[in-house]
Amino acid sequence: MLHQIEGSKAMAQAIALCRPQVVCAYPITPQTHIVEGLGEIIREGELDNCEFINVESEFAALSVAIGASAAGARAYTATASQGLLFMAEAVYNAAGLGLPIVMTLGNRAIGAPINIWNDHSDSMAMRESGWLQLFAETNQEAVDLHIIAFRLAEELSVPTMVCVDGFILTHAVERVDLPEQAQVDAYLPPYEPVQSLDPNDPISIGAMVGPEAFTEVRYLQYYKQQQALGLIEQLSDEFAELFGRASGGLLRTYNVEDAELVVVAMGSICGTIKDVIDEMAADGVRVGLVTLTTFRPFPTEALNAALSDAKDVLVIDRSLDVGMGGPLASNVAIALREMLRPPQLFSAIAGLGGRPVPKTSLHRLFRQAAIQPWSGVHFLDLNERVIAREIHRRGKSRRAGPTAEAILKQLGQERAARLARMPR
């Protein structure tokens, strides 16, 4: 049924339809309305056989989810940003133990400097943890991906993160088609664990593994992620058949036929990019888009097939690997090695710490790729005036003080000057 609903609330309802048995969360910043919504649903008794456990930290949240999952329960939690980092050790443990927990990440930046706004730094910090990572483009897809995620995680016994742009999606109110319980039940069977702790049939999970077997355990994690590539496609097809709409999958293409420049991006930015592509097409400039829905496992083969006719590829990252550049761009570059005649790769960083990504800036970026190609990393809408002044200032004195405060001071002075010029 169609609803005009906030993303977080829609996700809470979709997760409830997946019949989790344990939901645990640390309910303060950085948290979304998702677990708040789930807490309400559980308290109202609308979800049978489910326990909401309020814990004392994010580390505890995922630890409880690990315990619950090991005991054979369908376990769910949500976090973002610093919260994900605080649970980092448990994130790796859940993956290493092969426990099919589903976790929503309301993607946000990581401090310092303190910043509560959206980017993909948190997901990227955990990209090597062994979790599957799926990225939603819209709130409809965020809802659908959770349903797919539980099925995917449990079939492979691998934990899965559903990555949803914080604020941009989690706090946006828009049209979402929420499925019926019977539909979800038909798609997602009850959880049947491949391993579970049972006092009547004791086993141990989490053995110490030395050099003689560690590589093999890791290899099997890698093997399962490779298997996930095929399964994700299959589960997306099954989803489309049952729910009547396409969601998930490895990637989606938009206008890539005959496009010389193809953009690769993830998450909600893809909607804005599509609008820009349509506007440029009206001017006779053909640009295509590959929306990566699955980031882990990285869909190398599918991506190369989608980019096979492209002359130039522009990767837009919503996070920064400070010593290297865009993490998505690095991954795409590795994938392109497999191609006989790989396209030229451009990398741009956009939307860090909640910086809006306007259409006008994307227009400029896409045109620049055609007429004035760059090497290295391009930072979209970087305030070069402020950067130059700050670098100059720092060069003058050893005791230059903290960077963030100095930048804020500059911007504050500029704003005051602007306001003084405003007509009263």
Binding site: Q4, I116, I168, A172, V173, G271, P358
Partner: protein, 189 residues
Amino acid sequence: MFQVRIHGRGGQGVVTAAEMLSVAAFLEGKHAQAFPSFGSERTGAPVVAFCRISDKEIRLREPIQEPDALIVQDPTLFKALDVTEGLESDGYLIVNTARSLAEIQIETIVAKLPAGRAIAAPATELALKFINRPSPNTALLGAFAAHVGVVSLDSVCEAIRRAFPGKMGEANVEAAKAAYALIAAKVAA
């Protein structure tokens, strides 16, 4: 696509106003997208919320930079920031004030818009009368339905009821209807 930006202060229901407007459009079968300008919200601080309304799916995620209509819930904001930044030259402006637009000294802004596009609506006064608290958002949505259209008064009222069930909702509906009648009479005159 029709784009609305709502300015106000924390505690005035700015974000809820954008959400209710999106629900009103949804009830008419349109696509709508409402979202706040994210910050560390606190009572009294300037707040901005956005609403897009379209017949097609809305894919755009940038903040609204060139609104077709602007709702200003607190007229003191004109002195604090450039609220009309990017407002389309044929845009609509609704200001919450019981005074005239000349009295709040925004003639230069009014002069840039076609005649009749900027209006004053005494939304706080209507809210105090019907809801007994200074929450101008629902009255302003009633004024919006009269002045701008795009959504009908009926849809606005239904959206208000969904946001505030029960007595509180009905009181807000009365405030919206009163604002609608007031502005519709002005437009007709």
